[in-house]
Amino acid sequence: MGLLRYIGKIVSGAWTIVLGYTVTIPEIFRPIKTVQYPREKLTMDPAYRGHIELAMLPGKDGHLCVACGTCVRACPSHVIKVQGVKPGAMGAKAGVSFLIDFSRCSLCSLCVDVCPMNALRHSMEYDLAYYSRWDSVIDLIARFKEQQERG
């Protein structure tokens, strides 16, 4: 009896080894699943939250930021710096400088949530790497103008 159990254990153990092979060997002949990153790129889902940028609205020239500073206060990591000027005595304030330090941003979307003007949205950028900490400071106004020029 003991001998039979001993042999049974060996045989069943060996069988699970064979089962393991039956999983992995067929996989060799199946097509590849991975994306060859620098050569091919995935398109990001429209919902993807990259770093923030100023929203571009069709039929509108400029951005909507009025430099109210709500996003500055909402930001948990004190990433945002906004400066605005009043163009004249009457008109509303407009943001002239909107800096974010992306290296400290945690992409929580709180600033987008609180913006009363809906001036902010998330960009689609995901492969960002910098040589210097300076480079991670993004001027959103300059970025907005660049995008506008490109159309």
Partner: protein
């Protein structure tokens, strides 16, 4: 005067150009080339097998489908600094990689690649292979000890006990083949498989040899001497550059030798239809290695004591039974 020298020179030249020496020298060159090419090929195969098992393409950048990747790796390793930690035992530390690789070179003397493609068809061929490939473990022990690293030492100790445990089932299973061939000569073992391969006659011995030899080569699931999850890199934790590469080379060469012996013992060596002998030999060897490669990417690693249990409580009894049965049958057939 020139007349006196000429015959001497001629004799001297004739001696050095004699078939025997020529075969030895050319053989050595070929062997060194072979182990390098074999290792590079196997590293490439490993990278690609691992990748495709995991549904990735593997290396694709250097050369067509990345075939130059292992070559580039070798170049990189050549260019690397040979770090010697201050607390190591320097002479032993330096000599260990050589101890690992040199005995493996010797074993190539008797590997029969083809009917005549064998450096020396020694009478004690099989014995020579086993005695020299067992020396491999001395290098590992020396390297692990000399590293003065606790992980390395643990790896080295494990390696020794593993090798001791698995040499025994290997030798016993081989014995049951030798009983049938009445010879340790490689060519005669192959000749004995004229009608039928020994894998058909001795299936259990073949399986046992395959498992035990995988353990001998420290391949997963038996790679406990270098278990990276536990011992970081085991016995070669402290090695870098070409010294590390030599350990690597030894591992892949060892795999080749083990598969070559399996082919000789159980798969009829170079025998096969249509294609020439050496090609058949290599096909069989690499087909076997393929299974060893896939095993690494399929199974978890055994624990140290389970490895010993497998050797002493499963493999050795089974090998003994196999040997006894073989001996009895041989006696009865006579």
């Amino acid at each position: 005067m020139s007349a006196n020298i000429a015959p001497g020179l001629w004799n001297w030249l004739a001696y050095w150009l004699s078939e025997e020496v020529l075969v030895a020298v050319v053989g050595l060159v070929i062997v060194i080339a072979l182990i390098t090419v074999n290792s590079i090929g196997l590293i490439y195969a490993e990278l690609k097998v691992a990748a495709h098992v995991q549904r990735r393409p593997g290396p694709m950048e250097v050369g067509w489908h990345g075939w130059l990747q292992p070559v580039m790796d070798a170049v990189k390793l050549l260019g690397k600094e040979l770090v010697t930690a201050s607390a190591v035992n320097k002479p032993l530390f330096i000599v260990a990689p050589a101890i690992v690789i040199l005995p493996l070179l010797v074993t190539f003397i008797v590997i029969p690649f083809g009917k005549t493609l064998i450096i020396r068809d020694l009478n004690m061929g099989l014995l020579l292979i086993f005695s020299f490939s067992a020396l491999n473990v001395v290098g590992i022990l020396v390297g692990g000890w000399a590293s003065n690293n606790k992980y390395s030492l643990l790896g080295a100790l494990r390696s020794v006990s593993q090798c001791v445990a698995y040499e025994i089932p290997i030798l016993i299973t081989v014995m049951s083949v030798i009983i049938m061939t009445h010879s340790l000569k490689m060519s005669e073992i192959i000749a004995a498989q004229d009608r039928v391969w020994f894998i058909v006659v001795q299936p259990l011995a073949a399986i046992l040899y395959f498992v035990a030899s995988t353990a001998e080569t420290n391949r997963l699931p038996f790679d406990i001497p270098e278990a990276e999850g536990e011992l970081v890199a085991g016995f070669h934790s402290e090695y870098s550059g070409m010294r590390f590469a030599l350990f690597f080379l030894a591992e892949y060469t060892n795999m080749f030798i083990v598969a070559a012996v399996f082919t000789t013992l159980f798969l009829g060596g170079w025998r096969g239809p249509v294609l020439p002998g050496p090609i058949w030999f290599l096909i069989k060897v690499y087909a076997l290695i393929f299974f060893v490669l896939v095993a690494r990417w399929t199974f978890p690693r055994l624990r140290f004591d389970q490895l010993m249990t497998l050797a002493w409580k499963v493999m050795i009894p089974l090998a003994m039974v196999n040997l006894i049965v073989t001996a009895l049958v041989m006696k009865l057939v006579q």
